[in-house]
């Protein structure tokens, strides 16, 4: 991230971190690529074993370090490779998402979704939607550390 040129205010492009589970959403992203579906290049993918692996502090730290949006995506409920990881994660993120909204962070900054390995087209449209949502919000200002990239 540090090697990228400074982006002027006029043609600002958001930076989005996507935490994708290895078994569904990452494969879905792969399928989107193999199938040559177009989606905006603003997203940086971090592959995790399961959506249940994602500590909400990852999301907080991403926002602190100047990311404009975070996407978390895992297998559809019932399809988890580890049987119930995404179901436990669903409770965790339902509460986390409501909690940060309550504190005043824009809900569209941090989004959650389910994408299966066969949903390449849906992955592309999801990324397009998240990028457009974050573009509407503008650069992230809350929670950003002084000196963070993009800050």
């Amino acid at each position: 991230m540090t090697n990228e040129p400074d982006i002027k205010q006029g043609d600002w492009e958001p930076k989005i971190v996507a935490f994708l589970c290895n078994w569904c959403s990452y494969a879905g992203a792969d399928l989107a690529g193999v199938s040559r579906f177009q989606y905006p290049p603003n997203v940086r993918v971090i592959r995790v074993p399961c959506s249940g692996r994602i500590n909400p502090l990852y999301i907080v730290n991403a926002l602190q370090n100047g990311v404009d949006g975070v996407l978390v995506s895992g297998c559809h409920p019932g399809d988890c490779h580890y049987i119930s990881g995404n179901l436990v994660a669903r409770r965790k993120f339902a509460i986390f998402s409501d909690f940060i909204t309550y504190l005043g962070i824009e809900p569209q900054r941090v989004q959650f979704s389910w994408v299966s390995a066969s949903e390449g087209a849906q992955f592309a449209s999801l990324i397009t939607k998240v990028v457009n949502d974050v573009k509407q919000l503008g650069p992230s200002s809350r929670l950003v550390k002084t000196g963070a990239v993009n800050a």
């Binding site: 909400p56 502090l57 907080v60 730290n61 602190q64 409920p77 019932g78 119930s84 179901l87 436990v88 669903r90 409770r91 965790k92 993120f93 339902a94 509460i95 986390f96 998402s97 409501d98 909690f99 940060i100 909204t101 309550y102 504190l103 005043g104 962070i105 824009e106 809900p107 989004q111 959650f112 979704s113 389910w114 994408v115 949903e119 849906q122 992955f123 449209s125 999801l126 397009t128 939607k129 998240v130 809350r142 929670l143 950003v144 550390k145 002084t146």
Partner: protein, 294 residues
């Protein structure tokens, strides 16, 4: 109030003199008026200091996990038998610790106190005004007496805060948090914060910067408060411990409110049901999920 103290002293005397427990965690009068402090009683004949009044606001469950932690390098160590003087909120915290397997049930005696609400100077604590369980739900030895009525008006501050715009909420949150001096007293006072290494102290990975960047302080508070999801009993130990007077309650009470609203779970009531975030239901709400557009 005197009968309650005498009954409590009799109970504690019996437990200690019969050797049923090694130590009783209770309160004694502090050196300044209208304050008490936690005290550990080991001698059945030295109970004159044991206090019970309307200033016993500390949550005594916070001492339990560390009492049952095996000392490093200890060879012949048996866990102590402990009795705890528990008002409603302490009792609920104890149940939470039992569920999380931090304390052995067989070594613990819960002395249930009927709580009339605790005073902060001349005022009732806000936690007590909104208290729904003035008497603990899980009790071994109940002390008789009348407890406070269950509160009817609850979470008015939460509703008022929620009605504000996101910008106002964020400004209020950051204004409050900017008072924080990162003494971590809120964490130390909380019975749920028993981790041997807290994310705030860890260096591998280093979750939080060490400086006074407001972003790191906010991240600490989001992390600490979020860790209480499905566990917070709204005892306000963190609020009372804060030396800077941060209005933490308006933020912390969101989590028990959410857990109750989404999953119908109230922590610290029963020993059987699993903690809300350790379990799931196929039909859990997923309104927060973004659906990919067609």
């Amino acid at each position: 109030m005197n009968e309650v103290v005498n009954e409590l002293k009799a109970v504690v005397h019996k437990l200690l003199s019969e050797g049923a427990v090694d130590v009783v965690i209770g309160y004694e009068d502090a050196t300044i008026p209208q304050k008490t402090r936690p005290a550990f009683f080991r001698d059945a004949e030295a109970l004159e200091k044991l206090a019970w009044n309307s200033h016993c606001s500390n949550n005594l469950a916070v001492y339990l996990p560390r009492m049952f932690r095996k000392p490093l390098h200890a060879r012949d160590w048996t866990p102590p038998r402990v009795a705890v003087v528990a008002k409603g909120c302490d009792g609920r915290s104890v149940v939470g610790l039992l569920k999380e397997k931090q304390i052995p049930r067989e070594n613990l005696v819960i002395i249930g106190m009927p709580c009339q609400g605790m005073m902060d100077g001349d005022e009732l604590h806000r936690a007590c005004m909104e208290c729904t369980h003035p008497f603990p739900e899980v009790v071994d030895i109940p002390v008789s007496g009348s407890a406070r009525d269950k509160a009817e008006k609850r979470r008015e501050q939460l509703v008022a805060f929620e009605a504000k715009s996101p910008e106002e909420r964020w400004r209020y949150f950051t204004d409050e948090i900017s008072k924080c001096i990162r003494c971590y007293a809120c964490r130390q006072a909380c019975p749920n914060c028993y981790c041997e290494s807290c994310f705030a102290d860890q260096t591998k990975p280093r979750w939080l910067g060490r400086g006074n960047d407001i972003s790191d302080i906010i991240a600490y508070h989001i992390g600490r408060i979020f860790h209480q999801a499905g566990r917070c009993v709204e005892c306000d130990a963190c609020v009372q411990a804060c030396p800077m007077g941060i209005d933490l309650r308006v933020f912390t009470q969101k989590l028990p409110a959410l857990v109750e609203q989404l999953y119908g779970y109230i922590p610290g009531i029963s020993e059987e049901d699993p903690p809300s975030l350790c379990t799931f239901n196929e039909a859990d709400s997923q309104e927060f999920i973004t659906e990919p557009p067609k």
